[in-house]
Amino acid sequence: MNRISSIALASLLVVSLGAGAQTPGPAATAGSAARGKTTFFRVGCHQCHGGEAQGSPYSTAPKLGPAALPFAAFTLFTRKPRLQMPPYSPEILSDAELADIYAYVTSRAAPVALDKLPN
């Protein structure tokens, strides 16, 4: 059931302009990255981890991909977080949806070369 308004969702969607962004990551699960992206935004992972799962020092939410924890650890953490992250029970985020999210975060673009950053 998708309860978010399509306008709100559209305003939050992240489109990657990078050429490498669509490169699929390691297929650790049978999840769908496209569905995972929608779920990632619908259940608000992006609020703390960023739309590209890039992490943020402000919310202390770490990057989730493209190199990710093994799926089992990823699931365990999402269900029973260690510190500040709100827990996601299977009632509000099913195992299948979590697998989709995993497919999304592991298929994010690799970081650019550090020399792109001004020193």
Binding site: S11, V14, Q47, G51, Q54, S59, E91
Partner: protein
């Protein structure tokens, strides 16, 4: 020229001269001198001194002029450059005296569109300049508007100088609005979060209290003060049978911690294996930063300052330590705090939060973030100023030693005490420790650069990419980040070395601080030729966007980059937390939190108030060229905005 004209003109030029060498200069001199000599110089240039008068007072003749002229003389003697106000009838007399009698110069009137903006401008101005900026407001509706900003200044230890108009004598009030704009005790509303106030009943009383208020505000721990300017005092002529004097201001020397405790702290630091400093509102002046660098280098000890990833941010109060200094352990603060055997909190209220981990789950729990044998020490002036009602003093931290005194003023004697205890053997241990800390901080920095390189081309643009793009454009300029944290990326990616490059946070986390504080700081930076950079949160700007007009009207150059993420994301996270906890899903957490549908066109908003503005920009490649164009405008002396669509975090 009539005799009284002559008197007035002569006195005015004297006062202007006094102002130039007066409070501002004397305050700076006192701060510098405080490090070495606690006693202020006798007979030094003072606002009240004149070649012929006694050193403590100056005469002000009083022939038929209004009381507010004398008030202006007092304000001039204190060296104020500007005065902020949204106009109000309860200080019409003072307003008129400032612009006509005072020549609208020192202080020059800055037109504000909200009293909260006036106070926040004064707040930002002080942190860039080191001297207060007064604000005029109605004693009723004006201070009611201003009160949140006063609370921010209180929490941030900033001396905002408030002058409130009021008519105490009920028989003198015009029926109607003047009654609803009158109050028995105007300062009562903010007394819980101001340092001092008075409601003078004579002009001489006003003069003495105005000078006392300045002194109280500036004595560390600093804080806001209130002086009520009664309308009758402002508007009635000065009685010719009275001679008014302007009292001399002697800038106070700040309190230092007791010498025995300083020696004991030095011993602990020299003997420690992993000493660590956590600095928050330590560096009141550039000297504070220099002294902390000296102390850290002497001991080769780590420093944590400006930790933007703790909630609330710990140590983000002032620019205490260069961000790229090898001893800066901020980017690995958890590890540094966990490893330390002696932790010294310098002018930090939230020492408990810095040394414990608080977990906001269903059951709220706390566990220590430190070694069980770690010794905790505080050097704070905050204990000298606490009040009961508002809880900005934070949770009680059980420490091994609590030194009461101003941190910056105490550092020189602490440095001397450490020097006396140094041995060659300890020095070689320190050297090894310094090398290890330098390696650890360099590794942490590389990790952050790696994280910043993620999602580089994403749109909406990542906060890291925006910080990097801004840095690329400003790094060769004399820049000052006047407001805006941008998720903590600037302090990670930019090279902050100077005191004015980071002005810290609001204090009370009262939203609406960012835009006016930035413009107040930019006003101070203007004469120094600094490029003021404001990274502006969208929600913050919408509290009182009229301050954009103030910047355009007074030609205050500031580069504003909109951190446009279209929601109150902090609050969104809280609602998510509640929704998950109650197992209801977070799909609707945007309700009541988004600033969208319609999205706000900030460039148009700014343009409508006379700004150069571009955006919204959603392709990261467009940021650099837009910033270049905006910086060219700012260098011409005007404000400019670039609106950028960014990620939530």
């Amino acid at each position: 020229m009539s005799q009284s004209d002559e008197v007035s003109k002569g006195r005015r030029s004297f006062l202007l001269q006094a102002a130039a060498t007066g409070a501002g200069a004397a305050a700076a001199a006192a701060t510098a001198a405080a490090a070495q000599a606690p006693t202020p110089p006798q007979g030094a240039a003072s606002p009240g001194a004149s070649p012929s008068a006694s050193p403590s007072v100056s005469e002000v003749r009083s022939e038929g002029r209004p009381g507010s002229d004398y008030m202006v003389d007092v304000l001039k003697s204190l060296g104020f450059e500007y005065i902020c106000a949204n106009p109000g009838s309860s200080f019409r007399g003072l307003h008129e005296s400032i612009i006509n009698y005072g020549g609208n110069s020192r202080p020059e009137l800055i037109t504000c569109m909200h009293e909260e903006s006036s106070v926040a401008m004064a707040h930002g101005y002080f942190k860039a300049e080191g001297t207060p900026l007064p604000v005029m407001a109605h004693g009723t509706v004006g201070i009611q508007h201003a009160s949140m900003a006063v609370y921010n200044a209180w929490c941030d230890r900033v001396p905002v100088y408030l002058i409130l108009g009021n008519t105490l004598d009920a028989t003198m009030r015009q029926p109607g609005v003047e009654w609803v704009h009158s109050v028995q005790d105007a300062a009562a509303l903010v007394r819980d979060f101001t340092k001092w106030d008075d409601s003078p009943v004579s002009l001489q009383h006003f003069g003495e209290s105005a000078v006392r208020a300045y002194k109280m505000a500036m004595t560390p721990p600093s804080g806001p003060v209130v002086i009520v300017a009664d309308t009758e005092l402002q508007e009635q002529p000065i009685h010719s049978d009275r001679t008014l004097v302007i009292p001399k201001l002697t800038p106070p020397s700040p309190p230092q911690a007791e010498s025995g405790a300083v020696t004991e702290l030095a011993r602990l630091l020299v003997e420690a294996e992993q000493p660590l400093f956590i600095a928050d509102r330590l560096a009141r002046t550039p000297a504070g930063l220099e002294r902390l660098v000296e102390l850290a280098e002497l001991l080769q000890a780590g420093v944590v300052s400006t930790i933007p990833n703790l909630m609330p941010p710990v140590g983000a109060g002032r620019m205490n330590f260069p961000t790229r200094h090898p001893l800066n352990q901020t980017y690995r603060s958890n590890a540094a705090i966990a490893a330390a055997d002696v932790i010294v909190g310098l002018e930090i209220s939230n020492f408990f939060g810095a040394t414990n981990i608080f977990i906001d789950q269903v059951e709220r729990t706390t566990r220590p973030a430190i070694r069980p044998d770690a010794k905790l020490i505080t050097l704070n002036s905050t204990d000298l100023i606490q009040k009961a009602n508002y809880q900005d003093f934070q949770r009680y931290a059980a420490v091994n030693m609590a030194l009461t005194g101003d941190g910056e003023a105490t550092l020189p004697s602490l440095i001397e005490a450490v020097r006396r205890l140094l041995t060659d053997q300890r020095k070689s241990t320190f050297e090894r420790r310094g090398k290890a800390l330098a390696e650890a901080s360099a590794a942490a920095r590389e990790r952050f650069r790696g994280d910043a390189a993620l999602a580089w081309d994403a749109s909406p643009i990542t906060t890291a990419r925006l910080a990097a793009e801004i840095w690329e454009q400003i790094r060769k300029e004399d820049w000052s980040l006047v407001s805006g944290g941008l998720s903590g990326w600037p302090v990670r990616l930019w090279d902050f070395t100077k005191h004015y490059q980071h002005l810290g946070v609001s204090g009370g986390s009262g939203i609406g601080y960012g835009a006016p504080a930035a413009i107040g700081a930019a006003l101070a930076n203007r004469k120094h030729g600094r490029l003021s950079v404001n990274i502006q949160n969208d929600g913050d700007l919408m509290y009182a966007p009229g301050v954009l007009w103030t910047a355009a009207h007074h030609r205050i150059p500031v580069l504003t980059i909109m951190n446009n993420n279209r929601a109150y994301h902090e609050e969104m996270m809280h609602v998510q937390r509640m929704s998950n906890r109650r197992n209801r899903g977070v799909d609707r957490a945007h309700i009541g939190n988004e600033i969208d549908n319609p999205g706000i066109d900030y460039a148009k908003l700014a343009q409508s108030m006379g700004w150069y503005a571009e955006g919204p920009i959603s392709n990261p490649r467009d940021i650099g060229p837009a910033l270049k164009r905006a910086i060219a405008v700012v260098k011409r002396g005007e404000p400019a905005m670039v609106d950028v669509m960014v990620q939530p975090r």
